[in-house]
Subunit: 129 residues, 2 copies
Amino acid sequence: MTTNPSNTGLADKMRRGAVLAAACPSRKILNHVTSRWGVLVLLALGRGTHRFAELRRAVGGVSEKMLAQTLQCLEADGFVKRIAYPVVPPHVEYSLTPLGEELSIRVEGLTDWIEENLPRIMESRPVSE
Amino acid sequence: MTTNPSNTGLADKMRRGAVLAAACPSRKILNHVTSRWGVLVLLALGRGTHRFAELRRAVGGVSEKMLAQTLQCLEADGFVKRIAYPVVPPHVEYSLTPLGEELSIRVEGLTDWIEENLPRIMESRPVSE
DNA sequence: GTAAGTACACACTAAAAGGTAAGTACTATG
DNA sequence: CATAGTACTTACCTTTTAGTGTGTACTTAC
């Protein structure tokens, strides 16, 4: 195990710690993914195709504006696929792309761990709130 | 594979989708972890113990104020251990708790995936920026 | 005919997050 | 003896994020 960052190889550093550099483009993607609603939308879509209003109900507390914004952002990153049927009233379906599926697995890994370990986490917190 | 969220069992829903509920306490923890600097600090500390100034240099772009705030937050959640040696000039060491180690593995899973797939992601983006 | 639902966009405002600069108390280095 | 380094905190200000309310164009249910 490395206890000091300076004893990892340079190639390894480039490969695995690039996000730590401010200028790295993966920073932007990371920020989209870990945004307040991005994580939750990815999680919800991991369970299957949803319509806009369904997503809004699934993701507790999200506003229409933020949901629309988040979806557009994730779509631009290639994680979400949007299919609009030209009918009236409008019918739009959101789902994950293959890229999005892969990503949502990692996001789920994170959120599942938090949920499962919530008792341990709460326990280790000093007091209140 | 479930394509519709309504055909998952209720117990399963409770266990795996609790974050989707606005009132769930795991929401708060998730927000701490996925905060702009939280992810990066967890990542940096995953490589070993760091002093404050070392962390500041490791995490590109973070200000002293935000680093201090982030560390206090992660410490309160039980992910980070702070050891202050009563010497002058001050000497403080930050490291991950066992809980933090487990968490940082999931965070790394996410960031490593993003870094590795950055070419694919950029490719799938329509244009510019 | 009125209300609700569909999938948003837009304008305006409120709140939260984050940056900058300064200060602290002391030491080591040049 | 001035400068830099240590680990922060505080005040102030800017930027970003998010909420609220409105409008659209049309349909279905009551």
